[in-house]
């Protein structure tokens, strides 16, 4: 039976490959990034852009500086298709590699499944711009870092911006904001925080659900037309975004009064909507375009040598690509900071965690990194794993995004008690004793 013979041979070869994947010999001076990327499936546009930018930056550091203080950066990818169980499989497959710096899945579902695992394995988990809101509380989630932005501060940032559009936060009183959200846990996550902010600033909020995938929104936009809101916040995902913009145009709602959230802010969200997207505004933590020195260096040093990761060079400087580059900057700087304390060598996951917890990049340092204007600053501490990321707003002109606001600071102080309450409840449920950050710092300083 030739087929079964062949099948058996294939199985055997697979088993051999499995056995041969035992940890490789560690080189003294390498730091490894396991990448749970997604280049296939419905979210491939985001995955190729983000992981492309991340790899481009790691490449740049290797080519330009010879690594971080001589420690070479390495990486390898495992395809997840944005599916949780594939993400877990890739985690289990790559976690035994030596010198792992941090995990960067860019997927809420995969990140949730990894929280217990990275905590047991003592390796940082970076969920830039997304992830579990209460993991901002580093006392309860020592290894999880929702850098720059979590869903709550994103919402606060959007309301702050709407305040500037209205002429001051006090002018929001009496206004109506409609939130068009994706019918999923992700979409619903910010409903309570909108309600809270509406109460505080005296505006009315109307939450309107769009069932997944959202390719038909006629009735939702008729509701919006009846409500006559001052602004519509688009909390969308995938195909829902261009459809929302097109339907808004059909029902006569002006695009410049629609404000997109962080998953509705990419080129892939607006280009399919064509003209309907002109004037649309969206929040971002990192500006788009190639004008920044660090992006120029990526083009000049990495792409010019033919080592660029994006298949389409036109996507350099796009929202997801720049987010990937920014993610690279944050990871590399955390390594640098940790190396300054622990030595210029391959660091353990726990040492890198210390680096992330002292990741302070002020505006001067950001400028020195060639990223002035790309992002504002970050200040991560043991207790605050988000790091006070500022947000800005960009407007689509039909061909590119242009920044139309200052760097806006969300109202972190008013969000902190909600986050702490949620984290404390989690700690109680799981039997975790929150860390004493002040004591840890004092102990570290005394050593």
């Amino acid at each position: 039976m030739p087929l079964t013979t062949r099948l058996r041979a294939a199985l055997l070869a697979g088993t051999v490959a499995l056995a041969g994947a035992a940890p490789r010999a560690a080189w003294a001076d390498e730091q490894y990034f396991p990448l749970q990327s997604y280049r296939v499936g419905p979210y491939a546009a985001g995955g190729t852009g983000f992981f492309g930018g991340f790899i481009d930056y790691l490449n740049l550091i290797n080519v330009r500086d010879g690594g971080v203080n001589g420690v070479k950066l390495t990486w390898s990818e495992g395809e997840t298709q944005y599916e949780v169980e594939r993400g877990v499989e890739v985690y289990e497959r790559l976690k035994s590699r030596p010198g792992i710096a941090a995990w960067n899945p860019l997927s809420v579902g995969i990140a949730y499944a990894m929280i217990d695992r990275v905590t047991a394995d003592k390796v940082p988990l970076i969920t830039i711009n997304h992830g579990r809101t209460d993991s901002t509380d580093g006392r309860v989630f020592p290894y999880v870092f929702p850098l720059l932005l979590n869903p709550y501060s994103e919402t606060s940032g959007i309301i702050q911006y709407l305040g500037t559009r209205a002429g001051g936060l006090d002018k929001l009183k009496g206004k109506t904001v409609a939130v068009l959200y994706h019918g999923s846990p992700y979409g619903k996550e910010t409903i309570p925080i909108y309600a809270r902010l509406a109460e505080r600033y005296g505006f009315t909020v109307a939450q309107i659900e769009v069932p997944h995938p959202g390719n038909e929104q006629q009735s939702q936009w008729l509701t919006i037309r009846r409500l006559r809101p001052d602004f519509v916040v688009l909390r969308g995902w995938g195909v829902m975004n261009p459809v929302a913009l097109k339907t808004a145009q059909k029902t006569g709602f002006p695009a410049d009064r629609i404000v997109g959230n962080v998953w509705s802010n990419s080129e892939e969200d607006v280009i399919p909507a064509g003209d309907a997207a002109k004037g649309y505004v969206a929040i971002t933590t990192q500006a788009s375009g190639t004008a920044y020195p660090v992006i120029q260096e990526v083009v000049g040093r990495v792409y010019a040598a033919g080592n660029g990761n994006l298949a389409d060079r036109k996507r350099i400087g796009s929202v997801y690509h720049n987010l990937g580059v920014l993610n690279g900057i944050l990871n590399v700087e955390a390594l640098r900071i940790a190396q300054a304390r622990f030595g210029q060598r391959t660091l353990s996951g726990d040492e890198v965690r210390w680096g992330f917890e002292h990741l302070r990049l002020d505006e001067a340092r950001v400028a020195a990194l060639g990223a002035k204007g790309l992002f504002h600053s970050i200040n991560v501490t043991c207790a605050n794993h988000e790091g006070e990321g500022r947000v800005t707003f960009q407007q689509w002109d039909g061909a590119k995004w242009t920044v139309v606001s200052d760097w806006i600071a969300p109202d972190w102080a008013s969000l902190r008690p909600i986050i702490e309450a949620s984290a404390t409840a989690y700690a109680k449920e799981r039997g975790i004793t929150p860390r004493d950050c002040a004591a840890e710092e004092a102990a570290a300083a005394a050593r």
């Binding site: 294939a10 697979g14 395809e79 976690k95 579902g109 809101t133 999923s184 992700y186």
Partner: protein, 344 residues
Amino acid sequence: MDALPRAAPRRRPSAGTLGLGALLVLAYGIVPLTGTSYVFEALLTPFLALALAGLGLNLLTGYAGLLSLGSAAFMAVGAYAAFNLSLRLPGLTLPVSLLLAGFVAALAGLVAGLPALRLRGFYLAVSTLALQFFVAWALNRIGWISNDSPSGVVTAPRLVVAGLSFDDPRGRYLVTLTVVTLLTFVAWRLVTSPTGRNLVAIRDNETAARLVGVRVARTKLLAFAASSFVIGIAGALWAFAYLRTVEPAGFNLDRSFQILFIVIIGGLGTLRGAFLGAGFIVVLPLLLSRLGAALLGDGFDSGTLEMVQRVVLGALIVAVLIREPAGLAALLDRAGRRLGRRAA
């Protein structure tokens, strides 16, 4: 559908029992001592959980001939029921909450089975599809189910049985293996009992079954309840022992199809089929992916690799089903007979 008589050799226990015994010794004795965390966490635990789900669906589709596209919904019901039971009734031990979760899923199965009294074939499949969408809608809409977690994703409780923690890769594997072994035994008892023969009778000819005195409505509902009981526990294992998180998106229609394919490729109407099918659908893609990575190196574009893998897997499925439409279980049987003849 003629695979059944060949695949259930009840009267000749010798070779089968020996093989089963060897398998159990391997699974309990040798694998836990030699396996790595990757083997437990990424290969065996999901394999066992999905094989159990396939086993449950096989009771319904393979034995009773009732087509269902709602398997993922039953898994979700089981997973969220187990989560809520262990959250809200802290006194419950893990086996009890798993068992109760199975009963909750069985209840859902009974409701989903009501249309089966009137509908058959693809029409029934469509009505189970309604359940699939209803469960997804309810999970998204009713915050209580996910303990009002803002994102709808909940973290599974720790695995503790009788004060012993099974919260390491090996422990989770052993818990899964034990549950799967017990339920497989129960399923085997069921399909070899008169009730099991009634299921097959209904599948093969409902009118004839009714004429010889099979209580068709009762048996169909029983098939739905038993099947969703098993699938519900599989869902709880999938969430608790494998992913350690429960999210609605993980129990979508794709998962239902995956389980249906496990049953079809493995072999309808056989208990082994679910395990063979799960091996094919869960483990083989991982082996292919590791093989590809080993052959091409880390630098190769993972997207292209994934596409190649899909093509290879698709071709394999077509090849197997052309060779043996009754699935891998029948293929194995034939290979076994051929070997036996050669030896004699």
